[in-house]
């Protein structure tokens, strides 16, 4: 993974976590917060050592 891509991912993660804190303080625990937390999990999975498991080749 390139450093640039990595830095974008980290920025995205920071924004997501900020949104997570804001939503939790404003609305409490609800479905929207769960969805946001799933996006956070997906973002964390982009780290190459975990293997994103998405395919870089076209499926035939």
């Amino acid at each position: 993974m390139s450093q640039e891509l990595r830095s974008f991912l980290l920025q995205a993660l920071q924004r997501l976590e900020k949104a997570d804190r804001t939503l939790e303080s404003e609305q409490g625990y609800n479905e929207d917060l769960e969805i946001l937390r799933m996006v956070i999990e997906l973002t964390r999975e982009q780290v190459p050592i975990e293997n994103t498991r998405s395919t870089p080749r076209a499926a035939r």
């Binding site: 974008f8 996006v39 999990e41 997906l42 999975e45 498991r53 395919t55 870089p56 499926a59």
Partner: protein
């Protein structure tokens, strides 16, 4: 009755997951089975007319790396998918995906009984170093379940059993046996290098001069495969190029089927296992036979003894050629340059890898498993 199978990995994993269908039908009888898959693999499901929902993973990934990424857009995309699934009224949802994101998704799905192993609790550390370590622990922790164990555990949670596929015995009357060679995998480090193929094929040709050999690939591989085939022909190693979609593989008549496929760890390996084609699979780079072995009995799995990313030496290529020759003769022996295993169904019904390393004598592939069966490591 409607069941949703959550299969959010790659195409090879989907092929593995699909083998569970027979077990689901045996338990539930008339049942509609639908899949939740990543957008990157939906091409195959569309071609085969398999009912599915698409999880917008690649679309999300594109959002995530945008410099002005907005969490609201990601939220909207996922909310739509979740609502779509919740409105289907599934009786059961079976999660075969080993990821925390899939576990989070399970928490959001309602109106169905949800089956699958639970992932351990985890924190939500916002700091970079914290979350990378967290991911590291999960991915590399040897005590964690391997994908194979995860599949077995997922099936057990739903009262099902993951089947072990049996290799097909080719009894047709054709004169020439047919070897298929899949070159490319999802990454370069896992794929065969052309020079390696030359060394391996030269050895195989000496033992089987009439063998029919095809280079396999998807349409995007065709120019490279044609160029390699020309090189091989110039060296008197006759090969043909066989570019087929997986759907076309499934529909191939007997004359165009293979007696053996040589492949790296890729979706073609799992697909060949599903068709029951005998396999020699090479695991290199990040590929690990204990994590992603084909779920078929009698597949020969090789991993280089030399821990290097360099192309294989001539001796290694010849050793690989020997492995192919042996399987064509229904044998499997230890190798000088590769750790080697053969897949077996365990007495408990799971998949086991039996090491061939300490067995220098010739071994018939139809023999009963010995006492030296090595379990798949992990929890």
């Amino acid at each position: 009755m409607k069941i949703l199978v959550v299969s959010l990995h790659r195409l090879g994993d989907f092929f593995l997951h699909q083998t569970l269908e027979s077990s689901i039908r045996a338990k539930y009888g008339q049942v509609e089975i639908e899949y939740l898959i990543n957008d990157s693999v939906q091409g195959y499901l569309i071609t085969r007319g398999i009912k599915h929902h698409v999880f917008p993973r690649e679309a999300l990934q594109r959002f995530l790396v945008e410099p002005y990424f907005n969490p609201v857009s990601a939220h909207f995309l996922l909310h739509q998918t979740i609502e779509q699934i919740n409105h289907q009224g599934y009786h059961a949802i079976l999660n075969l995906t080993q990821s925390r994101a899939a576990a989070a998704l399970m928490r959001l799905l309602r109106s169905a009984q949800i089956f699958g192993p639970r992932l351990g609790s985890h924190d939500w550390s916002p700091e970079e170093s914290g979350w990378i370590r967290l991911v590291d622990r999960m991915a590399l922790n040897p005590a964690g379940p391997s994908p194979l164990q995860w599949l077995d555990a997922s099936a057990r949670a739903a009262g099902l059993k993951m089947p072990i596929l049996q290799p097909q015995v080719f009894t047709n009357s054709r004169q020439r046996r047919h070897l298929g060679i899949q070159l490319n995998a999802s990454s370069k480090e896992k794929s065969f290098r052309p020079s390696e193929l030359i060394g391996c094929l030269a050895k195989v040709r000496l033992a089987h001069p009439n063998l029919r050999v095809s280079l396999l690939g998807c349409p995007m591989d065709q120019p490279d495969l044609e160029s390699l085939a020309d090189t091989l022909r110039s060296m008197s190693l006759a090969v043909s190029v066989d570019v087929r979609s997986f759907s076309e593989w499934e529909n191939a008549n007997e004359e165009n089927r293979w007696d053996l496929i040589l492949t790296p760890d890729t979706s073609a390996m799992h697909f060949a296992a599903r068709l029951g084609v005998p396999l020699v699979a090479l695991f290199r780079g990040s590929a690990n036979p204990f994590l992603t072995a084909p779920r078929m009995e009698g597949a020969v799995l090789l991993q280089r003894r030399a821990d290097t990313a360099q192309a294989m030496s001539q001796s290694e290529c010849a050793d690989l050629g020997d492995a192919v020759i042996e399987v064509l003769q229904h044998e499997a022996r230890s190798k000088s340059f590769f750790h080697s295993w053969i897949t077996r169904a365990s007495s408990a019904g799971g998949l086991e890898l039996e090491s061939l390393d300490q067995q220098p004598n010739e071994r018939g592939m139809q023999n009963e498993p010995s006492q030296e069966v090595a379990s798949v490591p992990g929890a």
